[in-house]
Amino acid sequence: MSDNVAQRRTIPSDEELLEQFLRGDERSFVDLMGRYKEPILSFVYRFIGDYDDATDIAQETFVRLYRFGHTFKGEVKFSTWLYTIAANLSRSELKRYRRRNGTTLKEAFRKSDDDEQWDVPDESYRPDDSVDATRIAQEVQKALMRISPSYREMVILRDIQQMSYEEIAAVTETELGTVKSRINRGRQQLQQELKGLYDELFGSTTVS
């Protein structure tokens, strides 16, 4: 037990690492990047569905951290702050994608709690075999890309990244009630999308 306490003392928190980095210790920045590059890349990949774009956005997230780390005021957890940057960059990328594909911004980002289709789901998505090797993973990712991005973002943060509702509200800058309702609707949509796979694997008669 005393070992654990000693270990905890030796491992600096994210905020401490950031502070050290801001004092000029570049090594602390690399350590921070080491902690978060995989979860951030995974989150962005699941959100936008393209591995190369996700890598670019994840890298840009850390570039922003490098340049604007001094703007972190500690009002939220460091991880929440970092996810906020990644989520904003991902949303911007989706906007650019919609513009390139002829959907107007108004149509693409009509954000209303009652409006389930605030964005057009991506029907043309093809899973990236280099990330999702198994069929189940591919089908789940395909289903994720078919639900609207506002739901997708929150479902990923909740069910894959295991964030709390409060953290998701902070990352997405959305009311707590809206977060909960969107996660519920997103799960329902996702289960509907995965019904075929479920029936195929376990038979359609087992559950209604």
Partner: protein
């Protein structure tokens, strides 16, 4: 014996469990080997890119200003006929004689009275 009733699971209980299991078992995206290096390179390059952007904007503005100066000639003034207001005509050959005022009186030196000396209250 057991008075506590069992709680039946919802219809889609199995599906929800499976859905969550699938979501949580999704693999993490592999981070490229050069991820860190790329980030550090981009972070270091950032301000330079910023200056490049400013330089490009400045050059563009300079080109626009030059083109504007070259093409911006002063518009020639439009001369329009403005009729002069009629002046009173003067007959220079029949002018009336100008009055001449000349001092012909001889100056009288006695008229100049020297100022009287002033004395005290009783003195004259």
């Amino acid at each position: 014996m057991n008075a506590v009733p069992t709680i039946p699971p919802g219809d889609d209980f199995d599906k929800q469990v499976l859905y969550r299991a699938w979501m949580q078992s999704l693999p993490s995206a592999d981070v490229p080997a050069d991820f860190d290096q790329t980030v550090l390179r981009r972070a270091a390059k950032g301000p330079l890119t910023h200056w490049w952007g400013l330089a490009i904007v400045a050059a563009f503005l300079a080109v626009i200003a030059t083109i504007t100066q070259l093409t911006d000639r002063p518009t020639p003034p439009v001369v329009s006929y403005v009729p002069a207001s009629p002046l009173p005509s003067v007959d220079l050959y029949h002018l009336p004689p100008a009055p001449v005022v000349e001092e012909t009186r001889y100056p009288d030196p006695q008229e100049v009275v020297p100022p009287r000396k002033r004395f005290g209250v009783a003195g004259y």
